[in-house]
Point group: C2
Chain length 392, copies 2
C-alpha cells in the first residue's frame, strides 16, 4: 500500500491493526526470487505466457493435490482441484454457478465482509447464523434452514470460514463440523469452506491440532473448499485453488469465465509451481506460523495488560485476527474514529454482519502486518480510547 | 497448449486454424524479459506482491490513459480507467453489475462464444441482432429493442465487438456506431464494446483508418470499453483494462470482487507497467500488425486460389479472424470433422449464435497462430473437404 492509497486520516506512521494483510517483509524470499528467475529464463516461459489449460497449470495442481492428500489423509486426485485467481475468483464463481439470484446463501454472523459483498452483487439473499466462541452453532443453523423451508426457500450453500475465522479468529470444532455436514445432507445444501488460514495454524496442521476440513470429514461430498497463496506467499500473485467433487470442479472448469480466460494466471501459476516444487513453501509456512504466533501472543498479552475488565476477546490458534467485544456503553464506530486520531487503525464490527447493528460493540484487530512493538503500543492506545468512548 | 491439452483428434502436427491465440513465438521479447528482471530485482517487487490499490497499478493506469488519449484524441483522466484481469474479468464484472438475472443483453449474431457463455452463466436472456458485411445493423437493433419494449422488457446493455469482429472479422462503420449511440440514448441501454483487437489494425490506428471507438464517439457517456494485453503482449499475463465514465469505473472499483481481491494481478501489472513505460510495447504492436497482416493476406490469397466459387468470406482489416459462408448443401460440422481427419482444425459456426442453427453453414478461420505455409496448406485441404462434404 502506497501513501496515496492510505485510508482517509491514516498516515504512514499509523499502526495498522485493520487489514488482514500478510507482513510485507515476508513477501519475497530468495527462493521465490530464484523461482521467478528460473521460469523467465527457461523455455517454460512461452507456455506460461500463452492461454493455459482451463483447469490450471498441471504441475501446480499435482503439487497441491499431493500436499493436501498428505496433510489431510484424503483420497484425492487431480480431477478434484482447479487453480483459481485467488479466493476472490473462487467465491465469485461459486456464487455465480451455485446460487441463483434471489436465492439464499447461509453465512456466519459475523462473516467475511468482502464475501458478503460479492454475494450481494449477485443479488443473493443472505441468511446469517449466530456463532459463539466455538464458531457457528449447528442448532441455530437448523432453526434457520427449517424456517426458510417453511417459507418455501432452500439455501444454495453455506459459506463458512471454519479455521481462525475472519473476523473472530475462532475455530469450529470437529463435532460441530460433523453436525453441519449432517444438516447439509438432510436439507440438501452445499458447504463452501473458505479455508485460507488453515496453513497458518500456530501449532502446525498435523492431525488433532486443526480439526479435519469439511471436505475431509464429508469424504469430499457436497463440499467446495477454497485455499490460496495470499496468506502464505503473496497476495499480489492472485493465486489460489478450489477443491471439490470431480463433477463440481468440472462444472467450474466448463463455465464461461474459465473457458474465455483459460486457466487462472498461467504466468504466475508457473512461477508458484516452480517455487512449490523446490520444496521451499513448506519451510516458509513454518516460519510464518512462528512469526504470527509471536504477534498474536504479544497482542493477547497486551490485551490482558491494558484492556478494561469489561472488554472481552477471542484467543485464536492461528490466522490473523482477534475479535473484541466491547461493553454496551462503548460503540465501535466511536472507538474506530478516536483510535485513528491517536494513530491506530482498527476495523469496527458493523461491516461483518448482515444486520450491521449486531456489530456495533465489536472490533476486529489484525495482528498480521504490524510489528510486535506497534501491536503493544496500538492496543495500549486502544484501551485508553475505549475507556474514553464510554457513553455516560 | 501442451500435447495433453489438445482437443480430441488433434495432434501436434494439426494445422491450428481454430483458436484465436496469438502466435506463441511473439510472446516473449527481450524487452519484456528485461522488464520482468527489473521488477523482480527492485524494491518495487514488495509492492507488486502485496494487495494492490483497487483501481489497479497506478503507473499502468497513467500509461494507458495517455496512450488512449493520444490515439483517440479524447479527454480522459485516470478516473476513467481501471486495470482488470483480462477481458474475461471485465465482461463478467459488467454482466454481474449491470445486468440483472433474467434481464436482457443484446448481442451480435454471430458473437463471441465465450462472452455469450458468461452471460448465460449469469442467467441473462440474450437477444441477438443480425449483422451484414458492415457489422451490426442499426435498424435491426431498433426493431429488436422496440419488440422487447412492447413486451415490457428493456435491455441492460449491448455487447459488441466493433473492430475486426470475433468471429466475422468485420468492422462496424462509424456511421452505424453513431446510429447505435443514438438508439442507446433513446432506449436507455449501455454499450459495452469489447475492443481487444483495435491495436491490431493492419494499417495502424491513426484517425480515419479505424473508426472512432464507441467510447470516443459517445464522448465517454453510456459506454464501457474493454481492452487487454492478451492479443498484443501475452494472454498468460491475464491483464486488461476497462474504460468508462468515472461513476461507472467507481462502481466497478467498489464492487465485491475488487474490494476482496484488491487491484487486478498486481505482480503482473507492475511488470507490464515497467514494460510499457520502457516504450517497447508500441514497437511490438507495429511488428504484430505486420505479422498478422501477412498471415491474413496469405489466407485471403489461398481462399481465392482454392475455394469453390460458391463459398464466401470476409476480408478483415485487422485482428485474427476470417468468416466463411458455405453453400446450403455444405454443413459446418461435417467440414470440421473431415478437416480434422485431414489435420486441419477450424471452428464451426453454430457456437457463435444464440440460435445455433443459424451458423450451420459458417466456419471461422483464425490465421493468428499458424505459419504462412500452414495457412496455405490448411486452406487448400479445407477447400477439398468442403467440396467433398456436399450433401447430394
Amino acid at each position: 500500500m502506497t501513501a496515496q492509497d492510505l485510508p482517509q486520516g491514516m498516515t504512514e506512521n499509523t499502526i495498522p491493526l485493520m487489514l488482514g494483510h500478510p507482513d510485507p517483509a515476508t513477501l519475497l524470499t530468495p527462493e521465490l526470487l530464484h523461482a521467478m528467475q528460473r521460469v523467465i529464463s527457461s523455455p517454460q516461459v512461452y507456455t506460461a505466457l500463452q492461454y493455459g489449460p482451463e483447469q490450471g497449470t498441471q504441475s501446480l495442481i499435482k503439487f497441491l493435490v499431493e500436499k493436501i492428500k498428505r496433510e489431510q489423509g484424503l483420497s484425492l486426485h487431480s480431477g478434484n482441484l482447479m487453480v483459481v485467481g485467488g479466493s476472490t475468483h473462487a467465491v465469485d464463481m461459486v456464487a455465480r454457478l451455485y446460487a441463483r439470484a434471489g436465492g439464499v446463501v447461509l453465512v456466519e454472523a459475523p462473516t467475511y465482509v468482502d464475501a458478503m459483498h460479492i454475494f450481494r452483487d449477485h443479488q443473493i439473499e443472505l441468511c446469517s447464523i449466530p456463532m459463539d466462541e466455538d464458531g457457528l452453532i449447528p442448532r441455530e443453523l437448523e432453526k434457520q434452514v427449517a424456517h426458510l423451508s417453511a417459507n418455501g426457500k432452500s439455501p444454495s450453500f453455506l459459506y463458512t470460514v471454519p479455521n481462525f475465522h475472519n473476523p473472530t479468529g475462532s475455530t469450529l470444532s470437529e463435532a460441530r463440523r460433523r453436525e453441519i455436514i449432517g444438516l447439509a445432507r438432510t436439507y440438501g445444501f452445499l458447504i463452501v469452506e473458505d479455508d485460507v488460514y488453515r496453513d497458518l495454524s500456530f501449532e502446525g496442521v498435523t492431525e488433532g491440532v486443526v480439526p479435519g476440513s469439511f471436505y475431509a470429514l464429508a469424504q469430499g461430498k457436497q463440499v467446495l473448499s477454497i485455499g490460496n497463496f495470499s496468506k502464505t506467499l503473496a497476495p499480489g500473485l492472485r493465486l489460489g485453488w478450489l477443491l471439490g467433487a470431480e463433477d463440481d470442479i468440472q462444472r467450474c472448469v466448463n463455465c464461461g469465465t474459465t473457458q474465455m480466460g483459460g486457466g487462472a494466471n498461467p504466468f504466475v501459476a508457473n512461477i508458484v509451481a516452480e517455487y512449490c516444487l523446490s520444496g521451499h513453501w513448506e519451510t516458509h509456512i513454518v516460519n510464518l506460523r512462528s512469526l504470527y504466533k509471536t504477534r498474536c501472543n504479544v497482542a493477547l498479552a497486551a490485551l490482558e495488560q491494558y484492556m478494561p475488565t469489561d472488554v472481552g476477546w477471542t484467543r485464536p490458534a492461528g490466522g490473523f485476527f482477534i475479535w473484541l467485544s466491547l461493553p454496551e456503553n462503548v460503540f465501535a464506530q466511536d472507538v474506530k474514529r478516536l483510535a485513528l486520531q491517536e494513530g491506530v487503525l482498527v476495523a469496527a464490527g458493523e461491516g461483518f454482519f448482515v444486520t450491521a447493528v449486531e456489530g456495533e460493540h465489536n472490533l476486529r484487530l489484525a495482528f498480521s502486518c504490524a510489528a510486535p512493538g506497534e501491536i503493544e503500543t496500538g492496543i495500549c492506545i486502544l484501551a485508553e480510547v475505549i475507556d474514553r468512548s464510554r457513553v455516560r
